[in-house]
């Protein structure tokens, strides 16, 4: 890393650390759920360290307990992760020029928050010529800084949850603390009317269609929010809501 890249990396790490309470809480909740599932200690730790996708882990736990075949749980994981397929379009526009291993690694590490914050800062993708001329990879290092902080904080929360699940009483309502911590990330983003319309739509659709299999309510909420967001968008093009 050059000094310039290092500066950008640290700045990315700092950006993500502002959401530390939210990440730690969700990690903790996921860790506790794994500890209370049918997984052994080592299985739970391995799942936390390598799968690194909270919603898909939580969706898999009851299926593992029910003894469903591995392939069925993997199909479920894929469906639950469909939002990331949509996100990967946005990453593609920025990082298509990188070597394959870098692209896969960068994609694997880009969870919800990293993508959200990255797109908020770099709303317009570089042209192909700009990508080739970009030899410093500063955007990539900023994203990697965020990813590193996100991964470390998530694992701290998650592993703490796995190890100390029995000492944390259910009555604390910790799941709900996770939900509240997410409020603090979302509300500042509702600074324009199109974002507010998109948000209300996403929330209503996600709740109304909660009964859908494979958490497809998330994808449905995204699609309807995009339609409503585009319809109500009066701002100049290229701005991130």
């Amino acid at each position: 890393m050059t000094p310039e890249q290092k500066t950008v990396f640290i700045d990315g790490a700092r950006e993500m650390s502002r959401s530390c309470v939210t990440i730690l809480t969700w990690g903790l909740v996921t860790g506790i759920a794994m500890a209370k599932s049918t997984l052994t200690l080592y299985e739970a730790l391995a799942m936390s360290l390598f799968v690194y996708a909270g919603v898909s882990q939580l969706a898999a736990l009851p299926l593992i307990a029910a003894g469903l075949p591995v392939w069925m749980i993997l199909v479920t994981s894929f469906m639950v992760n469909l939002r990331f397929v949509i996100f990967s379009l946005g990453l593609q526009a920025h990082f298509a020029y990188l070597p394959t291993w870098r692209r896969v690694l960068l994609g694997y590490c880009t969870a919800d928050f990293s993508y959200l914050f990255f797109m908020r800062r770099y709303s317009t993708p570089p042209s192909a010529a700009e990508q080739r001329a970009n030899t410093k990879h500063l955007q990539m290092y900023w994203l990697m800084g965020m990813q590193t902080t996100n991964w470390v904080l998530w694992q701290i929360g998650s592993i703490t949850g796995i190890l100390f699940a029995n000492q944390i009483p259910n009555s604390w309502g910790l799941e709900f603390a996770g939900a509240i911590a997410l409020v603090a990330i979302i509300v500042p983003m509702l600074d324009r009317s199109s974002a507010r319309w998109a948000a209300v739509t996403a929330g209503a659709v996600a709740v109304m269609t909660y009964g859908m299999p494979f958490r497809l309510n998330i994808v449905l909420a995204i699609i309807t929010a995009i339609v409503v967001g585009m319809k109500t968008d009066k701002s100049p093009k290229g701005l991130i809501p």
Binding site: V21, T22, T40, Y42, E43, M47, F50, A53, S56, Q57, A60, I64, V70, I73, L74, S77, F78, N81, R83, F84, S88, L89, G90, L91, A93, F95, A96, R103, V104, G107, Y108, C109, T110, D112, F176, A179, I180, A181, L182, V183, A184, V187, P188, S194, A198, A202, G203, A204, A206, V207, T209, Y210, I218, I222, A225, I226, G229, M230, K237, L239
Partner: protein, 111 residues
Amino acid sequence: MEFNTNIFLLILGMSLVTAWTRSFFLILGERVKVAAWVLEAIRFAPLAAMIAILAPEIFLPASASSVSEFNLRLPNIWGGIAAIIAFYLTKKMLSTLVIGMAVFTAARFWL
């Protein structure tokens, strides 16, 4: 330590699914060019995804399987609304958590 081949395969497979879905179009590299209108449209995706994960946590019971279990006696709803108002007024994570959890806890006893 007991070794369960099925769980091992599952964790390996789920890790690959994470990598595959998150780099789905990114893997294709410069072979594809994403249209400008697509990028324009997916600006709303991360916000919508976050809300789609959050909203059921606030408006439905933890054990719910569908929207039919919605009811106003749910403490989550009041705690959630309190948290939104608290953040709107104070812009602070800590006060949002404290006020949200306080209203949530109070609602659990009274409703």
